[in-house]
């Protein structure tokens, strides 16, 4: 009987351990994403977690704004958590105008890295949503590459 309880206890401990090691946290995503910036200097990161869209509704999205400067080469990297079905899509706006998105509509491909050669100082708005409105967790890292 004693052996039975020990087995159950060990099983539960193992399950708890697996649960704690497999879940990818926002912090881990930031570190992973920052490593991908290569020769660029980290500036800022933001984490986006969104639930899935209700049927017939637009995909939920989250915005972050940042002041970008002229004659500067920036790099954006978006990393999506493997624990959620959604793949992150980043859209960059300036003065309500879409500058770019990492989602290529014609192919359905999502490109995780955007190199942005900025020539206009001003506020830029970064919108993140998840493909097909699925639930997701993603981190966007903004880094500085060089002055142009």
């Amino acid at each position: 009987m004693k052996r039975f309880y020990i087995i159950i206890l060990l099983l539960l401990l193992t399950l708890g351990f697996l649960n704690s090691t497999q879940a990818q946290t926002g912090e881990e995503l930031v570190n992973m994403c920052t490593e991908l910036t290569e020769d660029a200097t980290y500036m800022e990161d933001f984490t986006v977690k969104l639930s899935d869209a209700a049927p017939g509704e637009d995909p939920p999205s989250q915005k972050k704004s940042y002041m970008l400067k002229k004659n500067t080469h920036y790099r954006f990297i978006i990393c999506s958590s493997r624990d959620y079905p959604g793949r992150g899509i980043l859209k960059i706006y300036n003065s309500k105008k879409l500058v770019t998105s990492n989602y290529v509509e014609s192919t359905g491909k999502i490109i995780p890295t955007i190199d942005f050669k900025c020539h206009k100082t001003g506020p830029y708005h970064f919108w993140v949503e998840f493909e097909d409105g699925k639930e997701g967790l993603a981190v966007v890292v903004l880094s500085f590459v060089k002055r142009l």
Binding site: I8, S65, Y66, T100, I114, D115, F116, T121, P123, R147
Partner: protein, 303 residues
């Protein structure tokens, strides 16, 4: 017998749930700390959320300016930096401003790989951060270790910048936006001061433009500061910054329209912006802006 087994199973499940809840409680608490009542809720934004939506709060990065200065091959000058003596700064207002100033100085030091000098600044930053109850975000031991080893410069820049971002975010999310705004203001004026000081010795057109385009950033910064204008300390700071704002209003910024160029290179999406901002600052106006910024910055750090 069945009753016994049920009892034991119950204990095991309780133990399991205690373990699970301990783990999740650790995760959750990494960003939650006790803040005295005297500190919390003093910095709630008064401006509506809708209006704030159009204001960029993340304006404090000085990495671009530090890189521009370094690209001009201007030698490093410690004289441009604020002194690291912090014991005379007793109010949270002064401490938060100075923390922003040091953040900009640290960016300048990191850009020039001056890690030994950076240690003094890191030490002062720690003291200020502790006084403001945000020291928990500042991983001083790791930074100190990295600063002693020049090979770890990338990590030093990453961790110091990230720690500043975390402090700023924490303050904003915990009704202490007043302190976050002061950090932004301190970092901004120090960046402008550094640019002005360098320009006086090396009048480069790119630096001229970088100073002139601060008009856009100051516009948002004034909105943030005016949230707290009822506070007498803020009112004084706003008055100083308004003098600069008046000068910056004379800077002309025009936009040349164009569509961005997109191409995929080595798996990256490369965007070249064709829309350009063109900044025009006459010599006399630039001189006034630089002198005013030097005066305000020196006043803030009591020099």
């Amino acid at each position: 017998m069945i009753k016994m087994r049920f009892k034991h199973l119950t204990y095991i499940f309780i133990l399991f749930f205690v373990m699970i809840s301990c783990k999740s409680s650790n995760d959750k608490n990494s960003d939650e700390f006790n803040v005295p009542d005297s500190v919390a809720n003093q910095g709630v934004l008064e401006i509506s959320e809708q209006a704030m939506d159009n204001v960029t709060q993340n304006i404090s990065s000085n990495i671009e300016t530090a890189a521009l200065i370094k690209n001009l091959n201007v030698p490093f000058s410690k004289e441009h930096l604020a002194p690291t003596e912090v014991d005379n700064y007793n109010t949270q207002f002064d401490q938060a401003l100075l923390l922003g100033v040091y953040g900009a100085d640290l960016g300048y030091l990191n850009m020039y790989s001056k890690t030994t000098v950076a240690l003094d600044y890191l030490s002062s930053i720690r003291k200020l951060a502790n006084s403001l109850n945000v020291g928990q975000f500042f991983d001083f031991n790791t930074l100190q270790r990295l600063a002693k080893n020049d090979e770890n410069l990338d990590s030093l820049m990453y961790i110091s910048q990230r720690n500043f971002n975390q402090m700023d975010q924490y303050l904003r999310e915990n009704n202490r936006s007043n302190l976050s705004t002061l950090m932004v203001a301190g970092g901004w004026i120090e960046g402008l001061y550094l640019s002005g000081k360098v320009f006086k010795n090396r009048p480069d057109p790119k630096l001229r433009e970088a100073i002139g385009e601060q008009k856009i950033i100051l516009g948002d910064l004034m909105i943030l500061l005016k949230n707290f204008e009822k506070d007498p300390d803020f009112a004084g700071l706003i008055k100083d910054f308004e003098r600069l704002d008046e000068l910056f209003k004379k800077v002309e910024i025009s936009i040349e329209r164009g569509e961005p160029e997109r191409q995929v290179v080595d798996g990256r999406l490369v965007i070249k912006q064709r829309e350009k901002s063109i900044v025009t600052v006459p010599d006399e106006l630039l001189d006034k802006i630089i002198n005013e910024s030097i005066e305000i910055r020196n006043k803030l750090i009591n020099q």
